[in-house]
């Protein structure tokens, strides 16, 4: 059995799991963990979109 994710889905899945682990391990209280995890996820997604557009611009 194998699965094939698109580039975007793979990046979002990666961001989701990594953000949860970052949130739990890098902060001490529950609220801080949730806030930091959400912030990491937002940065990951924003970075993905920016990098995608940058690559599009370089190509064209």
């Amino acid at each position: 059995m194998s699965i094939q994710l698109s580039h975007f889905t793979a990046a979002i899945t990666f961001s989701f799991f990594a953000s949860i682990v970052f949130g739990i391990t890098q902060r001490t209280t529950r609220d801080e963990m949730i806030r930091y995890g959400a912030k990491c996820f937002a940065y990951f997604v924003a970075g993905t979109v920016v990098a995608s557009w940058a690559m599009w611009v370089i190509k064209h």
Partner: protein, 136 residues
């Protein structure tokens, strides 16, 4: 030894034992370092995240690096993969993770597997911090 002295010593011994056990167990089984310290939600979330990332990586036909890659980057990949503990050993034992180079998603799979291992190392260090009382 008086009771008050025993009370003062045993928690410290327990803490130092946990400081050794928690990171080792946390490395071998993702999230277990938190679970044995009764951090149920954190431990479960870490377990789900690391196992899901590793499993997705294998399902995407990512490569699992062996000890003798013969290349510096392969060795670094091996170190990252090894961070996943039991997941790595099971994968090697089952002879999974050969890496399908013809698939673009297989390269993502390889990265998923490495990062799952590295995230597990961070989790094990966090379990150690909890065990020594540096973190709640």
């Amino acid at each position: 030894m008086s009771k008050s002295k025993a009370d003062a010593i045993f928690p410290e011994q327990q803490q130092s034992t946990m400081a050794v056990i928690a990171p080792v167990v946390g490395w071998l089984v993702p999230g277990a370092g938190h679970l044995i310290q009764r951090r149920w939600i954190r431990g479960s979330l870490l377990m789900i995240c690391v196992i899901a990332m590793f499993a997705l990586g294998v399902l995407m036909e990512g490569k699992v690096y062996g000890l003798n890659g013969g290349d510096l980057l392969d060795m670094l990949g091996f170190v990252g993969d090894l961070g996943a503990g039991c997941l790595y050993f099971v994968t090697r034992l089952m002879d999974w993770g050969h890496g399908a180079i013809q698939l673009a998603s297989a390269d993502y799979g390889t990265k998923f597997i490495i990062v799952a291992g590295l995230l597990n190392v961070i989790s094990a260090v966090d379990a150690y911090d909890i065990a020594i009382g540096k973190k709640e």
